[in-house]
């Protein structure tokens, strides 16, 4: 295997690894822009993964799989929104609980499905897989290098790029996006302007949860090729949370951030041991070390638009305004 081929394989693997991270990140950015910190990304991804799998398995349809995944992520987020926005409970604790709940629920449901069917019959059919798995675009996919890197991906990969660009336009160029940012930065001011803080929070927390759910579906349907495996998300939701900070709450920067994090997560698999021999544990630390560095530098620079929304993590009590 030549060096160039290995390099190409590495870049391709980096793209594959970055997609679920990018979904989780985009979902969380939308949630944090509304002034809520949701540590439940991992849990919502788990819910999306299992229900996406279920939707595809039961209805034998890719559309149902994605719909189920989105709805499950939303359902997880709805629990969170009700507890933090309506009941005004602590956001950190609620988010952590959502992670634990989502992880447990997904593994539990997965176990039940496997238990209630004959061994080896629980997987997604080829019909569904053909829609979701990396596409073969004929001539385009056959172009050397570029074909592999740009034109041989799952539709979910192309969709997440469109999603992040449109999210960026929505946040920065639309009235609703402006209102949302006002809610996240200073809910009292937004309230005084006549914006319904709760409504904005609810809608965007739910949408964000749905997007996280799609990330989970990518893992169970594309990465795992439609086989349910326990503990399938395995901490990717946490990396997505770090990626939100890394990309400084910008959906477009998140694309590059996700590619970098994806590359870092598979880097150790492609560095030949006989050239660089570093313990694997150090490689697993890389995304988090990079996030720490970004935190340090961004706090030195103190650029307003690169900071977390000011209202993030604090519940809004209208009476205390």
């Amino acid at each position: 295997m030549t060096f160039a081929q290995q390099l190409l394989a590495f870049f391709y693997a980096a793209v594959l690894a970055s997609v679920p991270l990018l979904y989780g990140t985009l979902g969380e950015i939308l949630i944090e822009k509304s002034g809520n910190l949701n540590l439940g990304v991992e849990g919502m991804m788990y819910l999306g993964a299992i229900f996406g799998f279920l939707g595809g398995f039961i209805f034998d349809s890719a559309a149902m799989a994605l719909l189920f995944a989105f709805a499950a992520g939303m359902a997880g987020a709805a629990i969170y929104a009700f507890i933090t926005v309506t009941l005004k409970a602590n956001q950190n604790v609620t988010g952590l609980t959502l992670t634990i709940f989502g992880t447990g629920a997904a593994n539990f449901i997965g176990e039940i499905i496997k238990d209630s069917h004959a061994a080896g019959t629980v997987f997604i059919s080829d019909k569904v897989k053909n829609v979701l798995l990396p596409l073969d675009m004929g001539i385009l996919s056959d172009i050397p290098v570029i074909g592999k890197l740009l034109f041989s991906h799952s539709i979910l990969t192309y969709f997440v790029i469109i999603l992040s660009v449109s999210m960026s336009i929505y946040l920065n160029r639309s009235r609703h996006g402006l209102n949302l940012r006002a809610v996240g930065e200073n809910p009292a001011a937004a309230d005084a302007m006549g914006i319904s803080v709760s409504k904005y929070k609810y809608i965007h927390i739910l949408l964000g949860g749905g997007i996280c759910g799609l990330g989970g579906a990518y893992v169970s349907l594309v990465t795992a090729v439609g086989n349910w495996q326990p503990n399938i998300i395995g901490g990717q939701g946490w990396i997505a949370l770090a990626l939100v900070i890394f990309s400084s709450w910008s959906p477009t920067r998140a694309i590059f951030g996700a590619l970098i994090f994806g590359a870092l997560s598979v880097l150790r698999l492609y560095i030949p041991k006989n050239i660089i021999d570093i313990p694997g544990a150090l490689f697993s630390m890389l995304p988090f070390i990079v996030t720490c560095l970004v935190l340090i530098f961004s706090s030195i620079k103190q650029k307003r638009e690169h900071q977390q929304p000011a209202g993030c993590g604090v519940n809004f009590f209208r009476e205390e305004r």
Partner: protein, 368 residues
Amino acid sequence: MSKKLISVMLVLILALAILPAALSESTFDPISSEEIKVGAVFIGPKDDGFSGAHYNGIEGMKTALNLRDDQVLYKFNVAENSECETALRELVDAGCHIIFGNSWGFMDYMEEVADEYPEVIFSHCSGYKNNGVNFNNYFGRIYQARFLSGIAAGLKTQSNLVGYVAAWPDNAEVNGGINAFALGIQSVNPEAKVYVKYINSWGDPTLEKQTAEALLSLGCDVIAQHVDSAMPQVAAEEQDKFGVGYNTDMTSIAPNAHLTAPIWHWESVYTAQVKDRIQGEWVPKNYFIGLAENMVDISPLSKNVAEGTAEKIEAARAKILSGDWDVFYGPIYSNTDELVVNEGAMLEDDDITGGLMTHLLVKGVDVK
């Protein structure tokens, strides 16, 4: 009569009462099979590869000994920390007479709790300790099955490169598996090399798949694994390559890729130990049994194996079952070209479960 005399007599009576028990082999009284309670502490859920095989083993024991469902208590997804201790104590409180634990990291917790409850048996899988009273270890010669599965891989590979997704480096169980597999391959295909990548985890579905993909990109056309999920097989299937699974028959998950898998029949050791406990014959000995005792085997060969695989495997199996030969039979060279087992010598069990094997990789194995 003085109190002293009475107490001396009492001590003597007690000593006499204990004597017969101390003379017989087991310190545990027989118990009826309707009353015995069995506990199991598993690191994973019942649907993952490793814990799933153990679960089937306990269920097999339950059927073999006609136990009721409420006589077997499970603790799934127990972490290798104080959670293990809590789970063990809960099982003791629930009245278990014998408790099994299936992960390496449970060993020290089980040893500690065993000292506190000498009337309960604690039996740990994959370790080496034994307290001579109520705590033992059991494991299987899975390397024998890995050798057999290596034959299937060696005959199948076209590129003469076989990938191996391995869990932890510097671990005798993992390296023993890699070495036995490589020796199995070399017994039929001396040209073939084994490329190993360690993932530093017993199981992480996404990482396992990514690792298998990295090995495929190096030109490997058969992917073997010592990790929990079936993701390496899924990766091989996706790229129209082949694979050797682990723990359970993974043919249904990768029907066009899977060749065979080294598998465990844990029910043999579970049935033996619980039966001994029921009959009051349990003694704290460590189990290390293999093909001959039906503790390990390979899953049925799939349609994907090369022609002549079954014959070669049966020949090797017969050689192992004869008892004169085993997988780690000299001469064996390390991958740094050192002679580690002399010609005609056989590796001692201590050097298979630990010692030499911890750092040994045989010739033809490359860590990538």
